[in-house]
Symmetry: D2
Subunit: 338 residues, 4 copies
């Protein structure tokens, strides 16, 4: 931690900060500049970060040198985390995993038609939600356990592990008893109760980025899961909120190499929820893979214009088949297979 | 809903939209312009808003005319909602309610010293949290039920109703059994599970705005609570995320008159969490009241530089006493008492 | 400047940074922590800030301790700057200056009717633009010199100094030959050519904040003007871009006390362009004054629904008269007269 | 234009809007819904867009159906614009143009070493600026005409057309007399004076996106140039401002397919200024090309750690050579050559 004093700070202010550091067993390096005194705090990171330095007299600001997260950082583990899900290695630097399926499970027919098509096109993991967080309380909220049962049947029928969202800490065991991967959605990235609960069960967890979360906040959320003992976290970039309204959100491809540098966790890109429009899915999927993502997650629906959730972004099965062909070419250009 | 077709839309595309509207019992007004056809959809708002118009062939965009929320809107209830909490009328246009206390309850001594001081200075409601959502999993998370017990004791001792945050849907009954008002925090504004749970119990609910939530998203969150039967919702503006880093967040005073126009709910301003710095609390409190807020909520701590949470923004009791004097003057200038 | 090295930085990397600092006559304070080495650079601020530290091997980031601006900072001048314009002291801590008039000058009749009304209501400075920057090239761009002539006539007729925008560095002399105060608009805050040109003439300059400018960027823009010799700069907060769309922009009242702390320059608030809607002008004007602004600038038009620019936000003369009455009450509550 | 009335609007309010539309020769389609009346305005787009509908009594909002720009839209010209610069076809769907060179021209040696290297590696256009807009007035501002002369010499020596920034409308003729392409930078995207001036000369213009500009605002800026008669505009996406601070800006790859859909203009991506860090240039360049960009523009410097501007993002010539090899692979995967 670097503690910058105000111009008008007194010697007593400096002394008080130094004493406070010593009192917690840390060292203080004092640098007196022309207009500001700066104190470097050296010692136990967590102890130092928790004290209210900016509340002390004469302190202008406290700038952390280290990140607040630990287990999820490259500093802690230098090799890539690879998460095996029924034989699919997510995070393998030679593979670009394709995850696909309907946004929400609506019926057996809708799910099975989609699952069959995405399996045939090359997807390795099925997506499909039974619990949907909706901005309006009047919108369709999902089939709940009945949806999970259909997903489990589709897994057997088409040999596809599946990922499903969990919204409520009380549903974690239920979803974990069916799904191969749990998902914590964008709106729940800072729902620490839910993060702790998914951290206490053994299934891998997809963690979507909050609408305007910084990478540091996102990795802090992953740290919550790690701290409870679950080290299988998959980061999902799904577009951030920016001022342009032509697309629903803005895919942050810069986050992909940055996360790879800051952390050892796998990173997946979701071009469907990012763009929110069918014609953007292919260019965004290509861009995400070119930026170094370990995979993509794509919404597919047999009849998008009757979809109960997010129809505008769902690809038809035939469009998805073509997407996989095109994404494979880009993946190969960055030394990955699909 | 206004449905705008693409320039290249065909007559069949237009016909399909019109048919779809008729099939759900709605009317379609077709306007053919020089380069675009526009279809006005007239009928049941919720039915219309749930269909995926933008997934239909030839549709460029669908622009809602009405807001997605209903019960919380001025359209639904034109008179102001006033929420009585142990005799304190929150939302009364003649009153500016002062809520104050420590950010987190740390000890009996810390809480009681603060409660005594804020009561004496003129606060009508006590704040103090027993459950804290922290960005880092390594930070202090609150005293839990022991904190609620201390708050309940302070209520009796100083005759101050209190508000406390709830983080976990499983704790709603516990918090509601002690607190006079529950709070849903910024990070949980879109935690729909928690919103539904606080909507199913009878205590009033403070709903803080998400870091980058639009007013419409915030009112949708309030609608979640209303829909479950709890109509006592207090909106709390606590600063939004913007690009400047000189203060922690940016108090959005424009939200105050806008919410008053769009909704009938009381609006409180939190100058402490907005600015994140002690010297900003007074100017922001004054600005919030001048903009028309029904009250303010302020962090006070007897020894901010030992505070376990947010010490940099906490006022000393003596500073708070002066703040109430100054805020009272501004309140009177906009025809409110404190 | 604090230079933080990467975890994997070598001793040679550290040595290279230290040598580089010595080579420009500066000192290096090296602190070796558990996982990072940090180097404090002490010496000539401008020399240090211009070197590309982050391009050096092993450097993770360089964190400035001091602000890049100098003359406009409180560090440089501790007393408030007060700018006298024909007897009106802008920046006087006891005064809240009211500036009012039409957004754009459209005709002699429109201007004179407005000027007469605002003078009578208590305005001390007239606003009115002859050059308008418009997002669309097809919109009305102003009356140019003819507009300035009308403004100069209105000044004599109603004894009101006036402020007018300048867009083009080639027009600076022209505008300065008529106006009492020049304005650099939001879209030109980073037009350094224009900033330099207004810095080379003697009239005071209003500098509007860019749509998403940080306070530091805004003060850097003021520094451009200062550096050319003109020390009469008035900062105008006019709302920033945020995600909500219910108002045009979001008035940043936190900027008022922050600017007052960081700088010695006067700060004016523009509630008309912030909100973009007539009914928001009063609450935003009150909030700005309560936050500590040295004045407000308000759009007034005799017939807003025929206005060629920004009619939706213009007050009628009668509404403006009432606004001054109300704003005066708030100003008095913060120890200012109007 | 769709004009939505307030719930409390009267019949007279509706009549007034309809009359106003008729008075300018337009038609009004009135749709009376359950809670709102909506009026569709049909007729001359520019006339309708300029009237202050939202200032009229009873009007809640006016929603434009058409974009405010015209000549730059796909509606106006359906085929792609291809701009030939000394034989290099920018905007050709089969080509990914590589533009490279130093951010700022510092010396003959620095420029020539860089130009030689980028030519050899496969660049088709040279970049290098003689006028630099700097946030701080104390930073290096460029070599001015001497820099342009060096660029012109390098063009002859290495057979590379070059692009250079222009900051001041008074310098447009000067820069145009040397450069093959002019650039309007990010900070000047809304400097309408400069846009008009570059629109009145015959050289192609690169138009960088403003830090937080919407696509519509950016295309409006291009329209300013078009309207003056210059139809050779190249859009340059260079990263937008978002909340994350790990990189300098956030490359908006979604803008690439969106611009291609909304407009016929070429789109170039600048991975160097987006990321601001050397190690991000390759992944961002790949992502931009994969998203469909017509080319990339990359900063190269023989000795980045002595660079006077933006050293942290400049590639070494050897790194650039490898970048071209890698980008070529991705370009081929989307059917382009380099």
């Amino acid at each position: 931690m670097i503690i910058v004093l105000r111009r008008e700070a007194t010697d007593d202010d400096v002394k008080a900060v130094v004493e406070r550091l010593k009192s917690i067993g840390c060292e203080a390096h004092v640098s007196v500049g022309q207009t500001r005194t700066v104190i470097g705090a050296i010692g136990d990171r967590e102890l130092i970060q928790q004290l209210p330095w900016e509340a002390m007299s004469g302190v202008e600001k406290a700038v952390p040198v280290l990140k607040p997260f630990k287990f999820v950082s490259r500093d802690f583990q230098s090799e890539d985390t690879i998460i095996e899900v029924r034989g699919v290695p997510i995070g393998d630097p030679g593979l670009c995993v394709v995850i696909a399926g309907p946004c929400a499970v609506e019926s057996r027919d809708q799910l099975f038609r989609t699952a069959e098509a995405v399996k045939k096109a090359g997807a390795r993991v099925l997506r499909g939600d039974a619990f949907k967080p909706r901005t309006s309380p009047y919108a369709f909220q999902g089939l709940a356990e009945a949806g999970l049962q259909l997903l489990a049947e589709a897994r057997e029928e088409f040999d596809l592990p599946f990922v499903a969202e969990v919204l409520d800490p009380r549903d974690v065991d239920l979803v974990a008893s069916y799904a191969d991967i749990l998902r914590v959605g964008t709106r729940n990235m800072s729902n620490f109760t839910l993060l702790q609960e998914v951290g206490r069960q053994p299934k891998p967890v997809q963690l979507k980025r909050g609408f305007t979360a910084t990478l540091e906040e996102w990795l802090n959320a992953a740290e919550y899961i790690f701290k409870e003992g679950n080290h299988q976290v998959i980061m999902v970039e799904r577009g951030i909120r920016t001022f342009d309204t032509a697309a629903r959100n803005t895919l942050d491809v810069t986050a992909v190499p940055l996360l790879k540098q800051m952390s050892h966790l796998p990173v997946i890109v979701d071009p469907s929820h990012s763009g929110g429009r069918r014609e953007l899915v292919l260019p965004l999927a290509r861009a995400g893979v070119a930026a170094g993502a370990d995979g993509i997650m794509v919404d597919v629906h047999p009849t998008p214009d009757t979809a109960l959730v997010d129809g505008a972004q769902a690809l038809l099965p035939s469009e998805f088949t073509e997407l996989v062909v095109q994404v494979k070419r880009v993946a190969e250009a960055v030394d990955r297979t699909v």
